[in-house]
Protein backbone atom coordinates (compact mmCIF):
# COMPACT_ATOMS: atom_id res chain seq x y z
CA UNK A 1 0.00 0.00 0.00
CA UNK A 2 1.39 3.42 -0.96
CA UNK A 3 1.36 6.47 1.28
CA UNK A 4 -1.20 8.12 -1.03
CA UNK A 5 -3.54 5.16 -0.86
CA UNK A 6 -3.08 5.05 2.91
CA UNK A 7 -3.82 8.76 3.23
CA UNK A 8 -6.94 8.32 1.11
CA UNK A 9 -8.30 5.86 3.67
CA UNK A 10 -7.21 8.10 6.53
CA UNK A 11 -9.16 10.98 5.00
CA UNK A 12 -12.30 8.86 4.82
CA UNK A 13 -11.80 7.94 8.49
CA UNK A 14 -11.29 11.63 9.29
CA UNK A 15 -14.52 12.50 7.46
CA UNK A 16 -16.38 9.85 9.48
CA UNK A 17 -14.96 11.20 12.75
CA UNK A 18 -15.87 14.78 11.84
CA UNK A 19 -19.39 13.64 10.99
CA UNK A 20 -19.74 11.85 14.32
CA UNK A 21 -18.61 15.05 16.07
CA UNK A 22 -21.26 17.02 14.10
CA UNK A 23 -18.57 19.04 12.29
CA UNK A 24 -20.55 18.84 9.06
CA UNK A 25 -18.85 21.81 7.40
CA UNK A 26 -15.50 20.04 7.58
CA UNK A 27 -16.60 16.65 6.22
CA UNK A 28 -16.68 17.32 2.45
CA UNK A 29 -13.05 18.39 2.28
CA UNK A 30 -11.43 15.12 3.40
CA UNK A 31 -14.11 13.07 1.60
CA UNK A 32 -13.23 14.71 -1.73
CA UNK A 33 -9.46 14.64 -1.21
CA UNK A 34 -9.66 10.95 -0.33
CA UNK A 35 -10.79 10.42 -3.93
CA UNK A 36 -8.12 12.66 -5.46
CA UNK A 37 -5.34 10.94 -3.50
CA UNK A 38 -6.57 7.54 -4.63
CA UNK A 39 -6.67 8.73 -8.25
CA UNK A 40 -3.06 9.92 -7.98
CA UNK A 41 -2.08 6.56 -6.51
CA UNK A 42 -3.94 4.68 -9.26
CA UNK A 43 -2.28 6.70 -12.01
CA UNK A 44 1.12 5.89 -10.45
CA UNK A 45 0.12 2.22 -10.32
CA UNK A 46 -0.67 2.44 -14.03
CA UNK A 47 2.71 3.89 -14.93
CA UNK A 48 2.05 7.63 -14.74
CA UNK A 49 4.44 8.99 -12.10
CA UNK A 50 3.62 11.99 -9.93
CA UNK A 51 6.12 14.03 -11.95
CA UNK A 52 4.46 12.98 -15.20
CA UNK A 53 1.03 13.82 -13.75
CA UNK A 54 2.26 17.32 -12.95
CA UNK A 55 3.67 17.75 -16.46
CA UNK A 56 0.47 16.53 -18.14
CA UNK A 57 -1.74 18.70 -15.90
CA UNK A 58 0.38 21.70 -16.76
CA UNK A 59 0.55 21.06 -20.50
CA UNK A 60 -3.00 19.84 -21.16
CA UNK A 61 -5.09 21.47 -18.44
CA UNK A 62 -3.26 24.77 -17.80
CA UNK A 63 -2.18 23.50 -14.39
CA UNK A 64 -5.70 22.58 -13.33
CA UNK A 65 -4.61 19.44 -11.51
CA UNK A 66 -8.06 18.45 -10.28
CA UNK A 67 -9.53 18.67 -13.78
CA UNK A 68 -6.63 16.64 -15.16
CA UNK A 69 -6.94 13.90 -12.52
CA UNK A 70 -10.71 13.60 -12.95
CA UNK A 71 -10.61 13.49 -16.77
CA UNK A 72 -7.67 11.06 -16.80
CA UNK A 73 -9.45 8.77 -14.36
CA UNK A 74 -12.67 9.00 -16.36
CA UNK A 75 -10.80 7.74 -19.44
CA UNK A 76 -9.32 4.87 -17.43
CA UNK A 77 -12.76 3.94 -16.08
CA UNK A 78 -14.10 4.12 -19.66
CA UNK A 79 -11.43 1.69 -20.81
CA UNK A 80 -11.73 -0.71 -17.91
CA UNK A 81 -15.46 -0.68 -17.12
CA UNK A 82 -17.17 0.93 -20.11
CA UNK A 83 -18.19 4.46 -21.03
CA UNK A 84 -21.34 4.47 -18.91
CA UNK A 85 -19.29 3.88 -15.78
CA UNK A 86 -16.79 6.51 -16.90
CA UNK A 87 -19.53 9.09 -17.42
CA UNK A 88 -21.12 8.19 -14.10
CA UNK A 89 -17.75 8.56 -12.39
CA UNK A 90 -17.30 12.08 -13.76
CA UNK A 91 -20.81 13.15 -12.79
CA UNK A 92 -20.35 11.94 -9.24
CA UNK A 93 -16.85 13.20 -8.53
CA UNK A 94 -17.68 16.60 -10.00
CA UNK A 95 -20.78 16.67 -7.78
CA UNK A 96 -18.55 15.98 -4.77
CA UNK A 97 -15.96 18.53 -5.98
CA UNK A 98 -18.54 21.32 -6.18
CA UNK A 99 -19.86 20.46 -2.73
CA UNK A 100 -16.30 20.59 -1.38
CA UNK A 101 -15.83 24.03 -2.97
CA UNK A 102 -19.13 25.21 -1.48
CA UNK A 103 -18.16 23.95 1.97
CA UNK A 104 -14.66 25.46 1.84
CA UNK A 105 -15.29 28.79 0.15
CA UNK A 106 -18.93 29.88 0.34
CA UNK A 107 -20.62 31.69 3.21
CA UNK A 108 -22.99 28.81 3.82
CA UNK A 109 -23.28 25.88 6.21
CA UNK A 110 -23.30 22.21 5.26
CA UNK A 111 -26.16 20.07 6.51
CA UNK A 112 -25.87 16.72 8.21
CA UNK A 113 -27.57 15.10 5.22
CA UNK A 114 -25.16 16.62 2.69
CA UNK A 115 -22.10 15.65 4.72
CA UNK A 116 -23.37 12.06 5.16
CA UNK A 117 -24.06 11.82 1.42
CA UNK A 118 -20.57 13.18 0.71
CA UNK A 119 -18.95 10.39 2.71
CA UNK A 120 -21.08 7.73 1.04
CA UNK A 121 -20.32 9.15 -2.39
CA UNK A 122 -16.57 9.26 -1.67
CA UNK A 123 -16.64 5.61 -0.58
CA UNK A 124 -18.54 4.66 -3.74
CA UNK A 125 -15.99 6.53 -5.86
CA UNK A 126 -13.09 4.86 -4.04
CA UNK A 127 -14.46 1.46 -5.07
CA UNK A 128 -14.65 2.56 -8.71
CA UNK A 129 -11.11 3.97 -8.64
CA UNK A 130 -9.75 0.84 -6.96
CA UNK A 131 -11.29 -1.31 -9.69
CA UNK A 132 -9.15 0.30 -12.39
Amino acid sequence: MSALSDKSNLNISAAELLYKENHYDSVCHPAYYACLQLIKHTLCKNGISLEQQAIEASSSYRGNTHQYLIEKMKLMVNNKRGTNDGNDFRRKIRDLKLTREDSDYKDIRISSDTSRKSINLAKELQLVIQSV
Partner: protein, 128 residues
Amino acid sequence: MDKRIESIKDFLQSIHNKFSLMKFKCEYDSINHTYIIEVHPQEEFTANNDYISLESDFWDKFENEHQGYYLLFVTKDSLNHVSIPAFSIGYEEINEIIQPAQMSKFEFNFSLASEHIYAGENNYALAA
Protein backbone atom coordinates in the same frame (compact mmCIF):
# COMPACT_ATOMS: atom_id res chain seq x y z
CA MET B 1 -22.06 34.48 -20.80
CA ASP B 2 -24.86 34.59 -23.41
CA LYS B 3 -22.86 32.46 -25.79
CA ARG B 4 -22.31 29.81 -23.16
CA ILE B 5 -25.94 29.89 -22.02
CA GLU B 6 -27.16 29.69 -25.62
CA SER B 7 -24.91 26.73 -26.27
CA ILE B 8 -26.32 24.90 -23.22
CA LYS B 9 -29.88 25.84 -24.14
CA ASP B 10 -29.45 24.57 -27.70
CA PHE B 11 -28.08 21.27 -26.45
CA LEU B 12 -30.80 20.74 -23.86
CA GLN B 13 -33.54 21.70 -26.32
CA SER B 14 -32.17 19.17 -28.82
CA ILE B 15 -32.26 16.50 -26.11
CA HIS B 16 -35.82 17.46 -25.13
CA ASN B 17 -36.86 17.26 -28.78
CA LYS B 18 -35.37 13.78 -28.98
CA PHE B 19 -36.51 12.51 -25.57
CA SER B 20 -39.68 14.44 -24.78
CA LEU B 21 -39.91 13.08 -21.23
CA MET B 22 -36.70 14.76 -20.27
CA LYS B 23 -36.74 18.18 -18.57
CA PHE B 24 -33.91 20.45 -17.50
CA LYS B 25 -33.23 23.35 -15.17
CA CYS B 26 -30.00 25.30 -15.37
CA GLU B 27 -28.35 27.64 -12.88
CA TYR B 28 -25.00 29.43 -13.05
CA ASP B 29 -22.79 29.32 -9.96
CA SER B 30 -20.69 32.43 -10.45
CA ILE B 31 -18.32 31.62 -7.58
CA ASN B 32 -17.31 28.25 -8.97
CA HIS B 33 -17.83 29.17 -12.65
CA THR B 34 -20.11 26.18 -13.01
CA TYR B 35 -23.35 25.71 -14.91
CA ILE B 36 -25.41 23.24 -12.88
CA ILE B 37 -27.95 21.37 -14.98
CA GLU B 38 -30.57 19.35 -13.13
CA VAL B 39 -32.02 16.53 -15.21
CA HIS B 40 -35.47 15.01 -14.76
CA PRO B 41 -36.54 12.23 -14.59
CA GLN B 42 -33.83 10.43 -12.70
CA GLU B 43 -34.50 7.16 -14.57
CA GLU B 44 -33.56 8.78 -17.89
CA PHE B 45 -30.50 10.41 -16.30
CA THR B 46 -29.17 7.08 -15.06
CA ALA B 47 -30.37 4.59 -17.68
CA ASN B 48 -30.87 6.32 -21.04
CA ASN B 49 -27.58 5.33 -22.66
CA ASP B 50 -28.17 7.45 -25.77
CA TYR B 51 -28.72 10.51 -23.60
CA ILE B 52 -25.71 9.73 -21.38
CA SER B 53 -23.45 9.51 -24.42
CA LEU B 54 -24.72 12.81 -25.85
CA GLU B 55 -24.34 14.49 -22.47
CA SER B 56 -20.75 13.30 -22.16
CA ASP B 57 -19.84 14.52 -25.66
CA PHE B 58 -21.39 17.94 -24.99
CA TRP B 59 -19.65 18.16 -21.61
CA ASP B 60 -16.25 17.54 -23.23
CA LYS B 61 -16.94 19.97 -26.08
CA PHE B 62 -18.25 22.75 -23.82
CA GLU B 63 -15.35 22.69 -21.37
CA ASN B 64 -12.87 22.51 -24.23
CA GLU B 65 -14.43 25.52 -25.96
CA HIS B 66 -14.99 27.56 -22.79
CA GLN B 67 -11.82 27.14 -20.75
CA GLY B 68 -12.29 28.01 -17.10
CA TYR B 69 -16.03 27.32 -17.14
CA TYR B 70 -17.50 24.05 -16.02
CA LEU B 71 -20.64 21.96 -16.36
CA LEU B 72 -22.24 19.74 -13.78
CA PHE B 73 -25.14 17.43 -14.62
CA VAL B 74 -27.13 16.38 -11.57
CA THR B 75 -30.42 14.73 -10.70
CA LYS B 76 -32.73 14.22 -7.75
CA ASP B 77 -30.29 12.16 -5.68
CA SER B 78 -27.21 14.31 -6.32
CA LEU B 79 -25.52 16.52 -3.74
CA ASN B 80 -26.08 19.68 -5.78
CA HIS B 81 -29.37 20.97 -7.13
CA VAL B 82 -30.70 23.91 -9.08
CA SER B 83 -32.42 26.39 -6.77
CA ILE B 84 -33.08 29.45 -8.89
CA PRO B 85 -33.06 28.42 -12.56
CA ALA B 86 -31.60 30.80 -15.11
CA PHE B 87 -33.74 28.90 -17.60
CA SER B 88 -35.57 25.63 -17.94
CA ILE B 89 -36.46 23.31 -20.80
CA GLY B 90 -39.55 21.10 -20.82
CA TYR B 91 -41.24 22.65 -17.79
CA GLU B 92 -44.50 24.41 -18.46
CA GLU B 93 -44.96 26.48 -15.32
CA ILE B 94 -42.76 27.97 -12.62
CA ASN B 95 -44.67 25.93 -10.01
CA GLU B 96 -43.49 22.83 -11.76
CA ILE B 97 -39.87 24.00 -11.64
CA ILE B 98 -39.80 24.60 -7.91
CA GLN B 99 -41.45 21.59 -6.33
CA PRO B 100 -43.11 21.94 -2.90
CA ALA B 101 -41.47 18.61 -1.99
CA GLN B 102 -38.09 20.19 -2.48
CA MET B 103 -39.00 23.07 -0.19
CA SER B 104 -39.20 20.63 2.71
CA LYS B 105 -35.51 19.91 2.29
CA PHE B 106 -34.53 23.22 3.88
CA GLU B 107 -32.47 22.79 6.95
CA PHE B 108 -32.01 26.06 8.72
CA ASN B 109 -29.92 26.17 11.84
CA PHE B 110 -31.60 28.84 13.88
CA SER B 111 -28.89 28.70 16.50
CA LEU B 112 -26.51 30.24 13.97
CA ALA B 113 -26.60 33.61 12.30
CA SER B 114 -29.66 33.88 10.11
CA GLU B 115 -27.68 34.62 6.97
CA HIS B 116 -26.00 31.22 7.17
CA ILE B 117 -27.76 28.78 4.93
CA TYR B 118 -27.10 25.21 3.92
CA ALA B 119 -25.29 24.13 0.78
CA GLY B 120 -27.30 22.34 -1.83
CA GLU B 121 -30.57 23.10 -0.12
CA ASN B 122 -30.33 26.76 0.45
CA ASN B 123 -31.68 28.96 -2.25
CA TYR B 124 -35.27 27.83 -2.33
CA ALA B 125 -35.85 30.23 0.52
CA LEU B 126 -34.43 33.04 -1.55
CA ALA B 127 -36.69 32.06 -4.42
CA ALA B 128 -39.79 31.93 -2.25
